[in-house]
Amino acid sequence: MRKRLKTKFLGIEVNSPLVLPAGIMDMSFSGLSVSAKNGAGVVTSKSLTLEPRMGHKGPVVAEFASGLLNAMGLCNPGIMDGLTEINQFKERSDTPVIVSVFATNTDDFSELTKHVNKSRGDFLELNLSCPNVFDEFGIPLAASKDEVFKIVKTVKEISRLPIIVKLSPNVYDIVEIALAAEKAGADVLCLINTVGPGMLINTKMVKPVLFNKFGGLSGPCIKPVALKLIYQTYSAVNIPIIGMGGVTIGEDAIEMIMAGATLVGVGTAVYYRGVEVFNKINDEIIEFMNKSNYDSLEDIPKLEKLNE
């Protein structure tokens, strides 16, 4: 059965279209391996920065009716230690790894890329879209098509690995950003990062629930926003898309694929359905394929493209 979920992604064989996205259970090689063992076809590291970052004080997450707010603050052990974890993961697993990196300028992205070149990672993901370090870094780079173009072009020239560009949902025109990334040489687009950000208030203590006050929204509440942006992007570009945002059950993953995604990220659902969520969704996708008589992932139809 599971064979039918196998697919090739940029020439690399993956066992399931499900991706563990950046920031979810991925601070260590062993964290990554849990998702891989539980049915993720591809895993992503925490977004790594040149220097280690302790992240924001807690509370760093807040639950609400329809999702999570988080403001981790890009905590990570830094590129060197992060790559060590990734290499250790690769010693133990064949599952392809996306190395996510974060920086605020082209030079730092270049330096990060050089480190990643020497690692056993399979893809390099440029996180241009973290919304939770606004105080520190301002509006995400992903909001400017010129910045996106510049960074991607520079990194593309030196990267040994295919490049995934992670986009922000919080932009006026996703298409112009996506096209800039594609034109600059991006091999894959990944969207969406968290939405908002948003805030919740503790009414008894009259305080924002998150220490950082604001945090990005993830989970079921953002699925419609993700689907819309993925579909617009799919309609405009010719490179594959990793779609994510609120995928919790198999049906959500099918929606992502129909909207234009080739692979599908499952993040916050780990909280709702446990680490087994990948296998559960794999099963649900197969069930859907059976009912609809789709033999392979490639058989699942896409929406007609938007005509611009």
Binding site: S28, L32, V61, C75, K207
Partner: protein, 265 residues
């Protein structure tokens, strides 16, 4: 799923210069070994084990170590704090005869465990260790429970002299000679204490209460995972059974700080 509750501190007991017990009127329904995340939305948010939990009151016992706990120590009765949880795994409630080995601020969680074990009819022996008399915890509270308690301090200023592991070693050896083994051993305390205890427990089932740096406490951030199994201590732990502890190569060797960087013990 959102289980945040904002509660007034109902009682504060000073246990030692650096340790206080905070009690809350709330039906938490926690199990021994579980923890809460506590915040005042100003000083950060940190995990604390539940040291007592009745139908309508629960307590935590906090040692002042750094920024957050110092901040917490400023609070008075009637002040609000906000908690979420109880989170995590809980201790197995064994039958028969059990040994509890505790050290430092991690001992009070055994108060809650002992009560539940007693209710279960289990015969409880507790080794309650601290470095010195001034840091020794809960000795009066444990006296009230009708369990066997052996108090110990590293410097002999209170109870027996020696570490709780020293005492445990002696007792386990005695028992082995008598042929009357403990049915189950529980440990809670500094990781190196448990590491020292582990080789003595070849022939007995046990559970350790471990600690790792926790942020989300709901199993998604990955900060608290332990190698090589990727056990998330906030979900699959903090109480782990022998079978898992034995596989954890990082146990007693390193842990990860807030950035995820490995820190050697």
């Amino acid at each position: 799923m959102n289980n945040r509750r904002t509660l007034k501190i109902a009682k504060i007991e000073t246990e030692t210069d650096d340790i206080k017990t905070y009690s809350f009127k709330y039906s938490l329904n926690a199990k021994p070994g579980q923890f809460i995340m506590l915040t005042d939305f100003e000083g950060g948010e940190k995990p604390f084990s539940i040291s007592d939990c009745t139908e309508d009151v629960f307590s935590i016992t906090v040692k002042r170590i750094g920024e957050f706990t110092s901040h917490l120590f400023q609070k008075r009765v009637g002040d609000y704090v906000s908690i979420r949880g109880a989170y995590g795994s809980s201790f197995f409630i064994s039958k028969g005869k059990v040994l509890l080995v505790g050290g430092g601020y991690a001992v009070p969680t055994f108060y809650f465990l002992s009560k539940v074990l007693k209710e279960n009819g289990t015969e409880v022996t507790l080794i309650n260790g601290a470095r010195t008399k001034d840091e020794h915890l809960f000795s009066k509270k444990f006296n009230g429970l009708g369990i066997k308690v052996i108090n110990t301090t590293d410097d002999g200023s209170f109870g027996e002299k020696g570490t709780s592991v020293d005492v445990a070693k002696r007792m386990l050896n005695n028992q082995r000679e008598n042929g009357k083994m403990f049915d189950f051993v529980y440990a809670s305390g500094p990781e190196m204490m448990m590491k020292a205890l582990q080789p003595l427990l070849d022939n007995v089932e046990y559970e350790f209460l471990l600690e790792r740096y926790m942020k989300c406490a709901i199993g998604i951030c990955g900060n608290c995972t332990m190698d090589p199994l990727g056990i998330r201590l906030c979900v699959e732990g903090p109480v782990l059974p022998k079978k898992l502890v034995e596989q954890l190569t990082e146990f007693g060797k390193y842990h990860r700080d807030a950035s995820g960087k490995r820190i050697k013990y």
